[in-house]
Symmetry: C2
Subunit: 450 residues, 2 copies
């Protein structure tokens, strides 16, 4: 099971003291994933020392498990020769990811040091963007010709047992490598050796083309409860497979990105990043919010004379802007989620908008009524109460509509729609809210000068 605090401490100490016996004793029987987690507490140089001491297959897995930024910092310390040794022990998809992260020159040097066969394999994978099906797939899999028997299939599994870590099914292809179907391992176990696999193959197999996005692959695997999905080229030839563990990582990363987009964080950061990096990730959206604030100040400035006459108007500025912000975030988040889940693709734009407006009417009515009552009870200024409630009602509707349209628009433009729930929309809503408030005020006070 997982490392205990004491084990972690003693291992960290052993590495610092370069006590090789103790290191090897503590790491025996420990999962590579636990060692990856522990490298957070070691300097890159210490991490390198530890990794070089361990067996190369374990080192390869430890490095595969690291987060991108930790890995990049660490790998700067490795020579191309050392990198080639590690890559040699990696699964093809992890190897390609690692090479993607290296500077171009180092990448070429490492590729030159690999065996021609392996270097070709990896070069093939390097062509794909990391987050499409081609970039997510590994080439390690068990492939069987449709004309084989079960016994021949088992031979192939035995031959590749070392190479393919997880086997869920054998993929069945024709003489041209075109994917015909799959044969679950369970069927192979219970079938007779002399049975032709043609009789057993499940032809109804869900596969993806290399160009499909990670989101599409994740949605398919989630929908059909798949543990692996084969990847084919445009002619249907089998190229590789994507396993669910990589898709789980992908889903978690996407969820993080969405949350960061909503929170107005512009880089993928973590609490243990440097202060400089944390500041850099946060400042851009803060500055945009600030510009919005200054614009808002300019805008309110236009009404300086009204404010001097009725200073109480200023009281309700935070109420107006906050309500607009809250309504906007709610609306956009609902749209972002249904875009991500792809379940409601049958709703037309106008149905969607109609529904949003109805919900907004209800919410707006409740809020503006309650505020009106409070206003009369507490402040006892009738005209102002009318202005505030009218403005609130309009703001709820406008913010709902903007919050619904913006993510749809961003999605059309190929931008992460979650950005629509972030500070940008909040800032925009603030400005719209202020405009509505002061314009309503002008209008009402002209009708009913108090």
């Amino acid at each position: 099971m997982s490392l205990t605090e004491e084990q972690i401490e003693s291992l960290v100490r052993a590495v610092r003291e370069q006590d090789n016996d103790s290191i090897l004793r503590t790491t025996a029987g420990i999962y590579p994933a636990d060692i990856s987690a522990l490298l957070h507490q070691l300097s890159p140089l210490e991490s390198k020392y530890l990794i070089e001491l361990l067996p190369p297959d374990m080192s390869a897995e430890i490095i595969s498990n690291l987060e991108v930024n930790v890995r990049q910092e660490l790998l700067q310390l490795f020579s191309p020769q050392e990198l080639a040794t590690i890559v040699d022990y990696m699964d093809s998809d992890d190897a390609a990811d690692l090479l993607h992260e290296l500077p171009l020159r180092t990448r070429e040097e490492v590729l030159a040091l690999l065996s021609p066969e392996q270097s070709n394999y990896i070069k093939d994978l390097l062509r794909y963007e990391p987050n499409c099906a081609g970039g997510l797939m590994a080439t390690e899999l068990i492939k069987a010709n449709i004309n084989w028997t079960v016994g021949r299939c088992i031979e192939e599994i035995r031959r590749q047992a070392e190479n393919v870590r997880k086997v869920y099914a054998v993929y069945v292809v024709d003489d041209n490598d075109v994917l015909i179907g799959r044969l679950p391992l369970k069927q192979i176990v219970i079938a007779k050796d002399e049975e032709p696999i043609r009789n057993l193959v499940i032809e109804d197999v869900i596969a993806v083309e290399t160009y499909r996005t990670g989101e599409e692959v994740a949605a398919l695997m989630q929908k059909y409860d798949l543990e692996a999905i084969p990847v084919i080229d445009m002619r249907g030839r089998l190229l590789g497979r994507i396993t669910i563990d990589d898709i789980v990582d992908f889903i978690v990363e996407q969820a993080d990105k969405d949350l960061q987009a909503v929170a107005g964080i512009s880089e993928d950061i973590q609490e243990d990043d440097s202060i400089w990096k944390l500041t850099r990730a946060r400042l851009p959206w803060l500055l945009i919010g600030m510009l919005g604030g200054i614009l808002g100040a300019r805008f309110i400035g236009i009404f300086e004379r009204d404010l001097a006459a009725i200073p109480a108007m200023a009281f309700f500025i935070p109420l107006i802007t906050a309500t607009g912000g809250n309504v906007g975030i709610q609306s956009s988040t609902i749209v972002v989620q249904s875009l991500a889940e792809n379940t409601t693709f049958h709703i037309s734009f106008w149905e969607r908008l109609g529904k949003v407006i109805l919900v907004a009417l209800l919410n707006g009515l409740v809020i503006s009524t309650v505020v009106f009552a409070f206003n009369i009870a507490i402040f006892n200024r009738f005209t102002l109460a009318v202005v505030v409630s009218l403005a609130l009602f309009s703001v709820v509707i406008l913010a709902s509509v903007m919050g619904t349209i913006t993510p749809l628009l961003l999605n059309r433009l190929g931008i992460n729609p979650a950005l629509a729930s972030g500070p940008f929309i909040t800032t925009a809503n603030d400005l719209v809210g202020l405009a509505v408030y002061f314009l309503v005020a002008r209008f009402v006070y002209e009708l009913f000068p108090s």
Copy 2:
């Protein structure tokens, strides 16, 4: 592959016209998950008609795949007898989930209609909360005694092949059912029949106790790339297993919940829910925001005379509140993510806070300087510029600290920390921001009356 738009339309039409031949023709060879997705477009009565026409194993899977609220509405139309037939064809975990959702009386009626063996199985599962390991597990699995040979093991797989849909490994137990280890299917395929499994078993197996939370299970499966994890009782006896497809669903649901918490949505809703449900989910947080706004109005009211003297003070209210809100959401989201990932558990509270304050100092310095420059350039009011920048600087620091402490506190109290990024904290930040702004103003204007 997935249904085309035309297939969907023709199937919907066939159901409405009760054209059974056409329904059976269209659904042949279609995945249950696709039919589940399609039920969104049918009324509950139509859905029931379709489901009853299909083979019961397919019906069971279609119902398992439905979203909770759709399923609940649909199942109201089924008699206990009909429900029992469906439950009979379900995996144990899905059956338990379904029974959990039924009214208590119906649940008892359905249990009474099942075979005693199956009813006992399911009653065992019903004891657990749905989101702990016991509630997530299914009892279907392949179990082998440590004294068996590989051949005996294959016999067992053959016997259970129908019952256990996905087999990744055989779990090896001793005579008391205590989990000893696992034997991957791959090993079984390539081993000789007469080989004792004692020689092949991998004893180093990651298992969870029934009481572990879904989050813990998800974290383990993600970390160690598992496709299934055995569940044991306090004495180490094997009770069931959790497969990765259920954990993927769990992870996606959790991510949705986090996003909804940040957006201030209080129920799990989807765009195609009823207008009443959508309103109900959104209104609570809007009302809290509204109360905050009214409190803010009361607070600013204290300074009515200052505002009458210097109406320009009102200009910067949105800037102050928006900046506080943005900084607060950023800070809390960073903490929420590192709580969820559990990677930075070695950061102490004070280290965390120290770092947050340093980042806030940097951000605050940049923003207040830029705003100061703008203020002088545009509005040319020196004292007010000093007030605004001083207030902004303090707000950035206070909002950072509050945004960091609140999720940590909620987490300690066992509340979803993502709520800390939601409207509650934004509202609190608004009030703090206003307080700081007006107090700084009083102080500065008393020092330098303009």
